[in-house]
Symmetry: C2
Subunit: 454 residues, 2 copies
């Protein structure tokens, strides 16, 4: 404790020892901010934190006490790498709630959903191999893909999710170059970070492409049950029935990220390799977490809890959309998610959101700069805002502070260029004035600016 920490242990001494992948490893934009955003005076709209404050502590206590009474020694012991059967039956139940039928043997329980992305990438990617992903894509997948030195090709999204017609073009081009993507990574429902949902037509198209071209797809579906309006879409997994679609599920957003429980469903040969990867990575997933969730599911309230979560999240989403309309300048555009945790805001081109974040932090508010959601340097004038992790008043205040910083930038630009680009904040055109309840497909979602894919 008292030993002075040497400052001579500098990078130089060890740099020669690092793997080449280490040089490419960079921090996810989200995670870097954790330290700052843990300060109580900072309003963080950055993290992907679900609401956990409304989880009934008595339910946690009851589940834990049941473990103490019935299975303490087992909860404290190692378990099988693939996970406990008891938990797998909970997972079957969760997937059935989205109309998927799976067998416990088709899955491996993982240390959160993030580990699925890591293990799938580890299993399939050699340096230079191609992964197809939405643009923007989940910021937490960016360092994972980088750590295996993947070449990520982004496909633009619009209000109906990944633009699958562009995907065909990209695949043709790669084909001509003799490059075959190892897998397509997608978050079809309430995408992180864009908040958009893939239409049914595109889901069918995507599964069709996977079958025609024999391509694996990793469907990342943490938010499917967090729908605040409209009718559910079938998952890619349910359209594909498990031939080419690998499915990532997690308890993080429907129960708790702090217990670190996710799962992957994949074709048996792939699952077998993922299992080997998991053995090497962390032996097995927490037995205690698994038995705790089993005990919680036996209480029979897990769907009611999701319903209560969705009530809370819906109010927070609306608070965010209202605040954006009130406090963001007219040149800003944003998505209107029908579920999930995030709104994606696109500002005028002349604003760099990474620079903006530094100013925002001075105002004690945080967001995720858009470039963290791309591996090709795009996204520099976009930001991801989370509405699940703060209460409505806090969201409103956070958006107000960001809006102020944005307005300053707009005004500064106007002064510098002579253009008057700093109108008084006004309601953004589409999302708030034309709320269209119903299917996410039908909902009016502000389009991403369309760029050429790849």
């Amino acid at each position: 404790m008292s030993r002075p920490r040497s400052t001579t242990r500098d990078l130089e001494r060890y740099a020669g020892l690092f793997a080449s992948r280490t040089r490419e490893m960079k921090s996810s934009a989200m995670r870097d901010m954790m330290a700052i955003t843990q300060r109580p005076d900072v309003i963080s709209l950055a993290g992907g934190l679900p609401e956990t404050g409304s989880f009934p502590p008595e339910s946690f206590a009851a589940a834990a006490n049941r473990i103490a009474d019935e299975s303490c020694a087992r909860a404290l012991q190692y378990g099988p790498t693939e996970g406990l059967d008891e938990l797998k039956h909970c997972i079957v139940e969760v997937m059935a709630a989205e109309d998927m039928r799976v067998h416990p043997e088709d899955m491996i329980v993982t240390t959160g959903g993030q580990q699925v992305i890591d293990l799938v990438t580890k299993t399939l990617i050699d340096p230079g191999d191609v992964i197809i992903a939405e643009g923007p894509t989940y910021p937490g997948a960016v360092p994972t893909f980088s750590s295996y030195q993947a070449d990520v090709v982004h496909i633009d999204v619009d209000s109906e999710g990944m633009r699958v017609e562009l995907l065909e073009d990209v695949l043709d081009r790669l084909d001509r170059e003799g490059r075959r993507p190892k897998f397509i990574y997608t978050v079809p429902s309430f995408q992180n970070p864009a908040g958009v949902t893939m239409s049914l037509a595109r889901r069918r198209q995507l599964v069709d492409i996977a079958h025609r071209r024999e391509l694996l797809v990793l469907e990342d579906n943490p938010y499917g049950l967090l729908r605040y309006e409209g009718a559910p879409q079938p998952t890619l997994r349910s359209l594909d029935e498990g031939v080419y679609v690998m499915y990532l599920g997690t308890f993080s957003k429907i129960l708790s990220p702090g217990i670190r429980l996710g799962w992957v469903v994949a074709p048996p040969p792939v699952l077998e390799k993922i299992n080997l990867g998991k053995q090497a990575a962390d032996l097995c997933t927490s037995t205690m977490s698994q038995l705790l969730v089993r005990a919680y599911f036996d209480q029979g309230i897990w769907r009611d809890y999701i319903d209560s979560l969705n009530e809370i999240h819906r109010g927070r989403r609306d608070a965010m959309l209202d605040a954006l309309a009130e406090f963001f300048p007219g040149q800003a555009e944003w998505t209107r998610p029908a579920g999930g945790l995030f709104v994606w805001v696109t500002l005028p081109d002349f604003i760099d959101t990474t620079d903006l974040l530094a100013r925002a932090l001075r105002e004690n508010v945080a967001f995720v700069p858009g470039e963290g959601a791309f591996l090709d340097g795009r996204g520099r004038s976009s930001m991801r805002l989370n509405f699940s992790g703060s209460d409505e008043d806090t969201i409103r205040e956070g958006v107000r502070r960001i809006g102020e910083v944005v307005a300053e930038q707009v005004a500064l630009y106007g002064t510098l260029t002579g253009e008057d680009r700093a109108p008084a904040p006004k309601r953004a055109p589409a999302p708030a004035e034309e709320p269209q309840p119903g299917d996410a497909k039908g909902a009016r979602v502000l389009p991403m600016r369309r760029r050429r894919a790849g």
Copy 2:
């Protein structure tokens, strides 16, 4: 559930998609057996399961209820990648119990100790890079090293642990070949699987080599506090003070593997890279597990619990050594661990322990075949036996069954070769007849057969 599982999803369809590392990934011998050894009629001396049945359930309940009362929302939420400060202070306390002084900022909390091995290897190893490890080495590290396509060079061990004088020769040879090892992996105390402990002289020598040659060392010390006789040895970390020694600790063996909590202490530049690797791998370690351990430590009984564990483990070790002396043939040799969980048995050369395991499983008893502890095909007539996971009667019966299968093989060999190599089981010469309490260095430990290193 009712959908028939396709048998046409064969490996061929997906094989072309696997990464080259995937072809080299093989299952740890230990983990493969988990399914079999979970059958209640099987006596497993295979796994590295610590005793968890004696952990007081009321202590678990009290810790969990405190979380429910005080910090439920936080326990269920994401935490910082590097771990919670509260837990880091427990870790400082655990390391102080082995005379190590560390600062909370010097460490990252991980999903079990296994993740440390994975992250360190990921950070440092490019395909073909050299890792130095004991021979035999921890069987769970074997698939990890393989998954990063490391070239592992084994250094033989004897009763005083890694033969550090051979290490110098190997380093010289590698130097002549222009190859610099990225790190040296060692379990100095109560080695897994050999059960031997590195002498103080060799510890000093090893740290000296690391400094002279600027080589990183990963000291894996899960068992340091599980000493059943003799005086503690200083850790490599305490001799080095954190310049070249990275330290792996875990709560798995002193509390519970089911909570998946380990840690790594490393020089800041290395720690920073490990942190990036962890972000990509699983975002953060279970907040719930961390707060649970914090609450448990606040009960002030953690050292008493280890004392009680050591009482139990000591009795089990003695039961195993007695049973080996009684039931194993005279040609067998084994180590006499002063702590930890394992005994390493070496049988006559003509016995292949992987074949033997198949026979043993028919007698409902399991062990880890020795070849799982090498990456170069050695170890085929050795086995690892665990004494911490079964009670004394079960250990005795398990060893009796294995002894019988071994005796059959010895008799069969005698019949085939005409040699009489099947004497009646008798007490093995050294370990049981000359029990030497005291320092592991002084304890008579049967030597591994010595082979040329590398």
